[in-house]
Symmetry: C2
Subunit: 348 residues, 2 copies
Amino acid sequence: MHRITILGAGAMGSALTTPLIQNGHEVRLWGTEFDSELLTELRANKPHPRLGIHLAPGLQFYDPPDIEAALTDADVVILAITSDGVVSILQRAVPYLRPGQALLMVSKGFGYDATQHIRLLPTLLTAALPPHLRESCPIVAIGGPCKANEVAAGWPTATVYGSENQQALTLCRALLQTENYRLCLTDDVVGLEVAAALKNTYAIALGICIGLEEASKHPWHNLKSAIFTQAIVEMARIAQALGGRSETVTGLAGAGDLEVTATSGRNRVLGERLGRGESIATALATMRRLQQTVEGVAAARYAVELAAQLVNAGQLVTADYPLLSAIQAILSGEAHLVETLSRAALPA
Amino acid sequence: MHRITILGAGAMGSALTTPLIQNGHEVRLWGTEFDSELLTELRANKPHPRLGIHLAPGLQFYDPPDIEAALTDADVVILAITSDGVVSILQRAVPYLRPGQALLMVSKGFGYDATQHIRLLPTLLTAALPPHLRESCPIVAIGGPCKANEVAAGWPTATVYGSENQQALTLCRALLQTENYRLCLTDDVVGLEVAAALKNTYAIALGICIGLEEASKHPWHNLKSAIFTQAIVEMARIAQALGGRSETVTGLAGAGDLEVTATSGRNRVLGERLGRGESIATALATMRRLQQTVEGVAAARYAVELAAQLVNAGQLVTADYPLLSAIQAILSGEAHLVETLSRAALPA
């Protein structure tokens, strides 16, 4: 039995309590300032508001000021914070971390380092650790394909865990794997994270095809499948330019995650709105009002800038990512959806 | 301008008249004995019954006895016959073929050769040609991802054409490519054909997840994405064992075609019926009554036998294709859908 502290009581952090409790671990769920309502519901034995189900009994809940108590003597810490908040939460946790603890991270995305270069989150997290922890705390990235509500409910799921530390991966499997929650392990953190972050952006384009169908009353399935494939090709190129492997992207972490992300979720919904004819401004305003953050929008901005950095460094050419550029153009107001996407996704 | 003869007036053969007429070619559409009603409608300027749209004007129609007239002086012949009928139609055409004609084939699947070994269709077609044609008529396989009705309507489409004859591929692009119908060319006929045939079988499993969702009122998206990825992995292994390339399967011809096949079509529908709780006997009987051939069912039988041949030859092990075996078990009456698919698609 291990002691696991999850920082962040949102959907994915809370979902992971299901396999952990099932495996008999002591699980502590710490909420950020944004999670107060969630914690109130959970303490009252109500369903998790974002998952729609009751979490397993036996969890311990911690409020924002109690981060030290939540982390004391934890064997493993899981960072389940949105990508724009994860570094600052890690900085709050640092005084209470100890050497050797594995740090698991469900956050996906990009950020700027101190030199204003775009980096993947594992690099930024490592940089945020003081030297004595940086050497000894292995970071494990948790990728897709994985809807949190299904993990919470215990439905069959395969998910990719990535780390350069093989021992940490083996520990993750021992701690988290259940009959229905299965782990694929990889040392290709870059491939995993590129796919995890970028699939949200590409899923917007797939959502557009679904929206076009609703509006035009005829399907755009051929275009959608061309976009699907081009997305995988481009994610693989970007991953390779950063030192990752193509096979990671064509497998569960990329193709699989893109498939599930295009099936449901907010990125698809944004795309559908655009495809039905809403302007990007209206669609984003509506989703903001509904408090639905569309991760693929920020990821597109970061990815286009990252790709430009890679072009400058001679590791990519702009012809390597026409679909990413097309999506960014659409998110910036380009209204010729079919023309823009066709030109980018169909063979020249 | 070229003279193109299409043998078979079904959905895909008829759909290809759209890019061909758009490019200004003389196009002859010959119908088999099964196509008489289709030809009657088309001659009366009615919409194509299976495509739901009017074909482009200027087509010439030929009845079954007129195969010689249909083929005389054709530059290119397109075989658009179901996989179980294509060899016999080719045999009927052989007396009227001439050396150097390119033979394009939209049929997908497997068949037995003279020694009762399972072969891909291009091999069987080559064997059905007399020696003087075998040497001189290049065979081009047309793969996916491609819904015929969208090609017929002129919506954006990317499709893979495969041949070992580079000149024939270049000719295909010159003849068929339009602004919205784009060709990807490959010399990996084996990879293309394995994916084209097997995606139908794997799409049944993806359809099952959709049916499960309808029956259980909760999604099985994580399982579906695990199946999607495992399908690509297994198709790539089978293609490689036959001498094809993994990249063909992870690209447009495999991942792309599986995506579109799981989005719509009869294979998905059969899977949905099973997922909702229908027995395989009931589901197949219903679809037979609706005259809906489910290509993935025959393909599964062939593929399992082919895989066993490859295992005997030391080119595969049974652990390379657990999902194919699981689908065949389900098509043979195995009723524990979730258990059978989870065990096959999730990591061990």
